[in-house]
């Protein structure tokens, strides 16, 4: 077959464009162990840095004696706050408008905090010497409970003493960071006062950690001859890191090149700036040699950004018939020793105000109080858009709690409160405009797929059997309908450190009809090189296989805000389509010139422009590309390329319906997921196979979080879950089978209608698992029990309900 005989559908299929389950081009190198990660980078004369970390959660640093460490052969330098202070680098700004110590300046505020940085010829010497740095501490009272912290006389942040105004308004107490209020307090309280029914509950989403397979790290290389700093690192936002490094180091931005090589998972952990980056840059500037720093697993878990730790008190009002009339939420947010949340500037609690979820709630109020404690800083969006997992968990628990109060089926309660398809675009009570959705269709499809009625009948029988002593296993049916808000975001209200959250794509078409595209984002496993090429393939009719994708090098890629919060497809994906669409008009002119007709007499046809009414007369994009470099076309510049900086008009609102069926052993607390059904509506589906892979991975992370994964502290502020023996990462054994499904409700404002999917499974998965546990015990009187639902906590529920005789 050739171009003449193929149907348009066949030609489109050959492009492997949007909708094609194209295999991931990245996997060829990853499955052969040929990826190139930060720790694979080896430069001549490279030194290694290692931190001396605080064993205490709160202590004064009385003295730091470096002598023994400096005496070790091969040790080049030992940096402390005193060394960084003259450069003004002993503190650094955080993404949340706070500042954070780079190295302990007089005191430490969490266990694992960086106290000194040892630079040595290799990592073994650095580790040995770090042991020899002699730090004298004076222990201080430890605050690990945010509610206590708000009452305590103990001042954690002495540097802020007397400051009653923080980055986000007034501070009410010396350990208070901010209060963030959304919605209508008075109206909400009025509704609560008059409602038929009000359900009230404290919903805790425990502290956990993104724990990417590859920990954080960097290699800083200062070339003293050119004055140029190259910084390789595990950065989810390389361009923003370049700007931050320039702002805090005083180096001119054009003299800084930031490169994110292959990244082994980020999940939010690699968005922020860490002490390791600053110290490595300083060490390289001072020594004139490249300096590598790579965290070990324990350092990653105890010091780089955690996630969640939200205490969400909720009140939900409804009529007797179950129509929700109002929602109230007060959240106490434990931010640790420094406020280093990665949120858009105007959103100190992220998009927590998406907590009205999928429901048409006429009035709502949200207040969030941020609090300092003696825990690690962070509060990043672990595989979710800013605080969206917390919001989804909150509302999906509150719905269940309300269902109990109303003695109603939770599936039905959801159905009668969903925003209806005809209400979109929908203005939520907490200020968002949901772009599109069809929740009822998705919900009905999901319930039917799992035979919801049948499951409830089986559950009823199981309860009978349990009561009759025939079984010790309960059956839980966990329901969730989530709505996310992703794709930050419109520059008018979303920025990070003043940088608007647009994103970018540059496409260059080569003479032979292949192309390279560069984006401001950076893949960490999402498969950008695969999917973005598919967008271009469909938009400009060149095969995806002929399109190279490059990200992560700030010297070559256009500026962008990076990859997190499911923003790559909504923002950079849109930029990609828009850049492609900028190329098309020029291609059209070239085609018309070659065909010797007027521009308006040719039309687009999959991979070519053809003369209107004479489809046998055409020029393929391949031919057009060559002509762009080969013909002197009057009125046209040579070449075929375009760049687009896309500022989205709105966020996108992916949604989904997840159902988990779980067996629970009341005697041991052991659980088994019998069935997990995930229906996602992410708008236009670019690559169904990648979507499925993202859902599988994300639900598995959700399983981990809901069923065991946590960063737990004892009352002394010691991290109790600092290794993978105690920090739960499921293996293939614990991972259930998943059934994936979908509906398609395109985003009306996105150029290709896509909404983003990478984080949906974490957002929807956690409440689905947690609700399954709760649902199993609901018939026996359980209303609320906090995650993680590990064996002993499940056992405790059963024990508390008198199930152990």
């Amino acid at each position: 077959m050739n171009d003449q005989t193929m149907t348009p559908e066949e030609r489109a299929a050959n492009l492997k464009g949007m909708g094609c389950a194209r295999k991931r081009v990245e996997d060829v190198r990853f499955t052969q162990g040929k990826g190139n990660y930060v720790d694979d980078i080896k430069l001549d004369g490279m030194l290694f840095g290692a931190f001396v970390r605080s064993p205490y959660a709160h202590a004064r640093v009385v003295s730091v004696n470096k002598d023994a460490a400096l005496a070790v052969p091969g040790v080049v330098a030992v940096l402390t706050a005193e060394d960084l202070a003259p450069l003004g680098l002993h503190w650094m700004p955080t993404l949340a408008g706070d500042k954070q110590m780079v190295l302990a300046d007089g005191k430490v505020l969490f266990q694992g905090q960086e106290v000194a940085y040892v630079v040595a010829e290799n990592r073994y010497i650095a580790a040995d010497a770090a042991e020899l740095v002699d730090v004298e501490y004076e222990e201080l009272p430890v605050l690990t409970d945010p509610f206590e912290a708000l009452k305590s006389d103990v001042v954690l942040r002495e540097d802020l003493a007397g400051q009653t105004e923080g980055a986000h308004g007034p501070r009410k107490h010396h350990n208070h960071i901010f209060t963030w209020e959304q919605g209508d307090k008075d109206a909400t309280e009025a509704v609560l006062g008059e409602a038929d029914v009000v359900a009230e509950e404290m919903v805790y989403y425990h502290r956990t950690h993104p724990c990417p397979l590859e920990t954080c790290g960097c290699v800083a290389s200062m070339d003293k001859v050119t004055g140029k700093l190259t910084l390789y690192g595990t950065f989810q936002a390389p361009h923003a890191i370049r700007t931050v490094v320039s702002l805090i180091s005083g180096l001119a931005e054009h003299n800084i090149r930031v490169i994110s090589p292959d990244i082994g998972g980020g999940f939010g952990n690699k968005v922020g700036a860490y002490a390791g980056y600053v110290c490595s840059v300083v060490a390289s500037i001072v020594t004139g040699q490249p300096v590598k720093w790579v965290e070990n697993r324990m350092e990653n878990l105890m010091s780089t950004a955690f996630a969640r730790d939200y205490w969400m008190r909720g009140k939900i009002a409804a009529t007797k018939a179950g129509k929700i009339t109002g929602l109230w939420c007060h959240t106490t947010a434990d931010h640790g020793g420094f406020d280093a949340c990665a949120d858009p500037t105007k959103f100190p609690a992220g998009f927590m105000n998406i907590c009205t979820g999928s429901y048409d709630i006429p009035v709502a109020y949200l207040a969030v109080d941020g609090v300092y404690t003696n825990k690690a800083p962070g509060g990043v969006a672990y595989r979710c858009s800013f605080r969206v997992t917390e919001a989804a968990y909150f509302i999906e628990r509150m719905i269940e709690v309300l269902a109990i109060k109303l003695n109603m089926d939770a599936a039905e309660l959801r159905r009668i409160n969903f925003i209806k398809a005809e209400q979109f675009p929908y203005q939520s009570a907490l200020g968002w405009e949901y772009d599109s959705g069809d929740y009822h269709t998705a919900w009905d499809k999901a319930l039917k797929a799992v035979d919801y009625e049948g499951l409830r009948a089986e559950q009823a029988q199981r309860i009978e059997d349990f009561k009759a002593g025939k079984t010790r296993k309960l059956l839980g049916i966990g329901l969730t309908h989530f709505t996310e808000i992703v794709g930050a975001g419109p520059v008018k209200n979303c920025d990070i450190l003043g940088l608007g959250m647009f994103d970018s794509c540059e496409i260059r078409i080569h003479p032979t009809g292949s192309a390279i595209a560069r984006l401001g984002t950076i893949s960490q496993g999402q498969g950008h090189a695969t999917t973005f090429a598919q967008i271009i393939a469909s938009e400009i009719g060149l095969p995806a296989d002929d399109i190279t994708l490059e990200e992560g090098d700030t010297d070559t890629a256009p500026y962008g805000l990076g990859t997190y919060g499911s923003r790559s497809t909504p923002v950079a994906g849109a930029a990609t389509a828009m850049a492609a669409r900028k190329i098309r008009p020029k291609a059209q002119m070239i085609a018309a010139y070659l065909l010797e007709v007027h521009d308006n007499d040719v039309e687009w046809d999959v991979d070519r422009f053809a003369v209107k009414g004479a489809p046998e007369r055409f020029k393929t994009m391949k031919e057009i590309a060559f002509a762009a470099y080969n013909q002197a076309i009057p009125g046209l510049e040579p070449g075929l390329e375009a760049v687009s900086y896309y500022d989205p008009p709105n966020m996108t609102y992916p949604f989904g319906a997840y159902i988990c069926v779980m067996e629970i052993d009341v005697d041991t607390g052991e659980w088994e997921v019998r069935q997990f059904y995930a229906l996602d509506d992410c708008g236009t589906r670019i690559n169904p196979m990648i979507i499925e892979g993202q859902v599988h991975g994300g639900v598995t992370e959700a399983l981990a979080i809901a069923m065991g994964q946590e960063i737990a502290y004892d009352e002394m502020g010691n991290v109790k879950t600092g290794t993978l023996m105690d920090f739960f990462i499921p293996t293939a054994w614990e991972t259930p089978n998943y059934t994936t499904d979908h509906t398609v409700t395109p985003s009306p404002h996105h150029p290709i209608g896509a909404k983003g999917v990478g984080e949906s499974p974490n957002v929807g998965g956690v409440p689905a698992f947690s609700n399954a546990v709760h649902d199993a015990f609901r018939p026996f009187g359980l209303v609320q029990s906090h995650m993680p639902h590990d064996h002993w906590r499940i056992w405790k529920i059963a024990n508390g309900l008198g199930m152990h005789g």
Binding site: P730, T731, W792
Partner: protein, 277 residues
């Protein structure tokens, strides 16, 4: 996660290994599969100047299945315990327990000798060996001696083995054909140590019961065994609950562990009884 420096030795026979231990005293430690020791070294909770690798000592290898006794060389890997057909027929309990240890990667490296010599209350093999009434052969500067598994464990990481001794072989009496055996373990995930684990043998009017990770040593209870031999399961469980002394940790509080210990033990007993002739 980088251990402190050490000298590496790789002797070819037991005598040279003992010689190196004698020379360096408590500065030296043997390493078998390394899957308990190396993590401790990386955490710098174990630091030693001299590491004596036992991998090249052939005398420490091999599984011998006799009609009355099974002998395991200390360097037999946990993987070999699982894949050896004769062993699985003679004492199926060993395979059942070994399959519950860690994951395949760990079991390819981890040895039975290292598992029982380590003295970590989380290890599964010590309780198993007590249940089976195994004895450990120790070779030192003064020759060989034998210590019963039931007398070997003193406290967490403290055993009857002297610093200069190497655990060389494990001898296990083959239980009668009518004896039902079962190993039951509750853990949080693959690769985890036990929340509670039970090794049970019952049949022919005899019984033996041991439990793991519920005290600072494995717990073999003669009294529990006697109750079970007499067919009194409740008495057995009560005696065992009396003998264990769990502590609260990330796996749960004490009352949970005690409850689970009883459940796990009952399940092991059920299964062992169902297999008894």
């Amino acid at each position: 996660m980088i251990p402190a420096g050490f000298e590496y030795h790789r002797p070819g026979d037991i005598a040279s290994a003992i010689g190196i231990l004698q020379e360096h005293g408590d500065e030296a430690r043997v390493i078998a599969g390394g899957h308990s020791l190396i993590p401790m070294m990386k955490l710098r909770m174990a630091e030693m100047g001299h590491l004596v690798d036992l991998q090249a000592i052939d005398e420490l290898k091999g599984i011998e299945v006799g009609s009355d006794t099974v002998t395991l060389g200390a360097m037999v890997t946990q993987h070999e315990l699982i894949t050896h057909d004769g062993l699985a027929t003679a004492i199926p309990l060993i395979r059942e327990a070994a399959l519950q240890i860690a994951d395949p990667q760990v079991r390819y490296m981890g040895t039975v000798g290292g598992n029982v010599a380590n003295g970590d209350p989380g290890n599964d093999m010590p309780g198993l060996m007590q249940c089976l009434n195994a004895s450990f052969e120790l070779s030192g500067p003064d020759g060989k001696r034998s210590v019963a598994a039931r007398d070997f464990y003193e406290a967490a990481y403290f055993t009857a083995r002297e610093d200069e001794e190497i655990l060389t072989r494990i001898s296990i009496p083959v239980p009668g054909a009518d004896v039902g055996q079962a190993y039951e373990k509750q853990k949080r995930k693959i690769g985890d140590y036990a929340t509670a684990a039970a090794a049970v043998m019952v049949g022919n009017g005899t019984a033996s019961v041991a439990m793991t990770n519920l005290a600072d040593t494995p717990i073999w209870s003669e009294e529990a065994g006697a109750w079970l031999a007499g067919g009194n399961v409740d008495g057995c469980v009560a005696a065992m609950l009396d003998a264990i002394d769990p502590v609260a940790d990330n796996r749960g509080p004490v009352e949970f562990k005690k409850h689970v210990a009883a459940v796990v033990l009952r399940r092991a007993i059920d299964r062992a009884q169902s297999r008894a002739g």
